[in-house]
Symmetry: C2
Subunit: 353 residues, 2 copies
DNA sequence: ATGAAAGCGCTAACAT
DNA sequence: ATGTTAGCGCTTTCAT
């Protein structure tokens, strides 16, 4: 084959500069080039080092990560699989992941499974084939059979937010029971104890389970009764207005709505506005997750804040420790980290009334 | 080396199943395995094919994409570099990119340069080293010296939204002049012709330039005068309230604000609220970009919508065509695609008054 | 219809 | 201090 003009443009096609080209230019062996790049092992004379550095610069050489990864069985790539990138909460998480990974020299491969199990499986397979060093995953709906195989193979995975039953894994969660309790306490304190709850379908998703369960628990603790018909579970595609309407047509009416999801909160607010119901005069609303817009909507939203950035940061740190531990053939003990939510008080529950 | 128990778990360490393992299990050559995987070339007897398929399944084999990519000089990976993932506009774009790429069998490597030139350069270098087949980039602030080298090497790149001067490239843009004209027409029609403009720093960013220039142009066309002190340029870290205050303290006051960025709009709205200025009674506001929250803020925002999803989709399609063209050693003619914005009328400009 | 072998670009023993 | 060489796991030419 035409082993020669490798480093020339072939009819306008991109040239690829390889380590060999650098070696030739610097008049050293490729090993030497490799060594100065990774400033590895044995001392190298300042002279040759400089020669190599010059050659690299002149040729604008960039090592082929595929070759390097193939050889080293390590890619410095971390796969991040998120269930729903549209939700700004996850972008905050992502920022935490990004920062922690950048510090440690890892790049990210981010995929969006859009709460679809099939997408998630395809994405994970892609990660595996691309030989990522580890995976951070916010599981989508449904139980993914691949999780089991990953975990039992001791592959570095950290789960985010949603617990995966039966698996002993690293998981970063936010204390949902506490979050809900914060919310209900606040409402009760404001004499808004006739509380309705809105949630997207539970579908076995742990935070959703915990928020609804936590709701019952918190209500009970306050000696309050839970009106089952005030627990509204609805699909993302469903018309929220119908449920809100239904809620307001009962014999008795709630004086507060606890929305367990930030996107859902927007839907509820719109329905309320359409129906001419005033917030917070007629009904209070308390949301989950702080967002860019929380304080700008009308009225400014009282909400449970989750430490999203921190969550991402911790997940990445944990994963990287996991990866290192595997590299050094040490044992790894999975752990669950529970972060604390907090309450941001604004005006949507009638605080200023 | 212990070439044997390759496919066994080494003290809990993940096993790697290779093509060789499959070949052995199916009692064929690795070539044959490769062939059935890629159902390539020569016919293979149904018998052997089935044997191989079985072996693959039993071993849960997944080909190593690094090795494959190294050999084929092709990764089926597309790098996406965005200037600001926090802005929901870009997530919509991303969705379009995702859909188009998935259809064509490409995976994405998404990075967030956070409007920082250094990050952007590092991210691009990472793309190159990882041998992505092409890059979609929304340039961050500043001129990136790498662009030149990419483009002149005929490397498949598509630019999004921001034009890169002097380079003959594929670029997908939205017609900013038209967008601004839509906005100003609307305002004038509502007798809100004393218009102030808010923008983030121009910094040579083409859509910002065009929106401000377009503003002047549109005003002139309506025979309106541009009050220079009403053109407010401010940094993301700056306190927006000061500028709003300043605006309201002049001898003459605007009756409308045209905000050229969706994040900025939230800031302005907050400042206005803090200052006790009513929207739209005292002043109207018209924003750029439609978002999830646009209709939920108070009052519902009248805004210029950009076809974000379409933008992403077109960019990806264009890039993939570029890649294919290179693979087939055909000539490629870069083009600029100009998409159309539209006006979404709600209540923030006093439409209902 | 199937297989042997070269080689993609790199790193890491193992020389010297 | 530097070089030689054997792979990493795959695809692809060339044999058979």
């Amino acid at each position: 084959m035409e082993r020669e003009n490798q480093s020339l443009k072939l009819n306008g096609k991109k040239m690829r500069v390889t380590i060999e080209d650098v070696a030739k230019k610097a008049d050293v062996s490729i090993t030497t080039v490799s060594r100065v790049m990774n400033n590895n092992y044995h001392h190298i004379s300042p002279d040759t080092k400089q020669k190599v550095l010059n050659a690299i610069q002149e040729l604008d050489y960039r090592p082929n990560a595929l070759a390097k990864g193939l050889k080293q069985m390590k890619t410095n790539l971390i796969g991040v699989s998120l269930s729903n990138l549209q939700n700004p909460f996850w972008l905050k998480v992502l920022e935490g992941i990004e920062d922690a990974c950048q510090d440690a020299g890892y790049s990210l491969m981010i995929v969006n499974s859009r709460d679809n199990l099939n997408n998630e499986m395809e994405n994970l397979k892609g990660f595996i084939m691309r030989q990522v060093d580890g995976i951070i995953i916010n599981p989508s709906i449904g139980s993914n059979p691949l999780f089991n195989s990953l975990v039992s193979n001791n592959f570095p995975v950290v789960f985010l937010n949603r617990k995966v039953s039966d698996l002993k894994t690293d998981t970063i969660e936010v204390d949902n029971l506490k979050g809900v309790s914060l919310a209900i306490n606040h409402l009760v304190k404001l004499n808004r104890s006739k509380i309705a709850l809105f949630s997207y379908p539970i579908d076995g998703i742990s935070p959703r389970i915990e928020r609804v369960e936590g709701f019952r628990k918190a209500m009970t603790q306050h000696g309050l009764e839970v009106n089952e018909s005030w627990i509204k579970i609805l699909d993302e595609k469903e018309d929220c207005k119908i449920h809100v309407q239904d809620l307001l047509q009962g014999t008795e009416q709630p004086n507060a709505i606890f929305s367990t999801n930030n996107m859902l909160t927007l839907e509820i607010l719109e329905a309320l506005k359409d129906l001419g119901v005033r917030v917070p005069e007629d009904i209070g609303i308390l949301g989950y997750d702080e967002t860019k817009w929380s304080k700008h909507i009308n009225p400014a939203l009282t909400t449970i804040e989750q430490p999203a950035y921190e969550m991402g940061k911790q997940a990445a740190k944990r994963l990287i420790a996991f990866i290192r531990s595997n590299e050094e053939k040490r044992e790894w003990q999975p752990e669950t980290l529970l972060l604390n939510p907090s309450l941001i008080i604004r005006n949507s529950c009638g605080e200023a009334l």
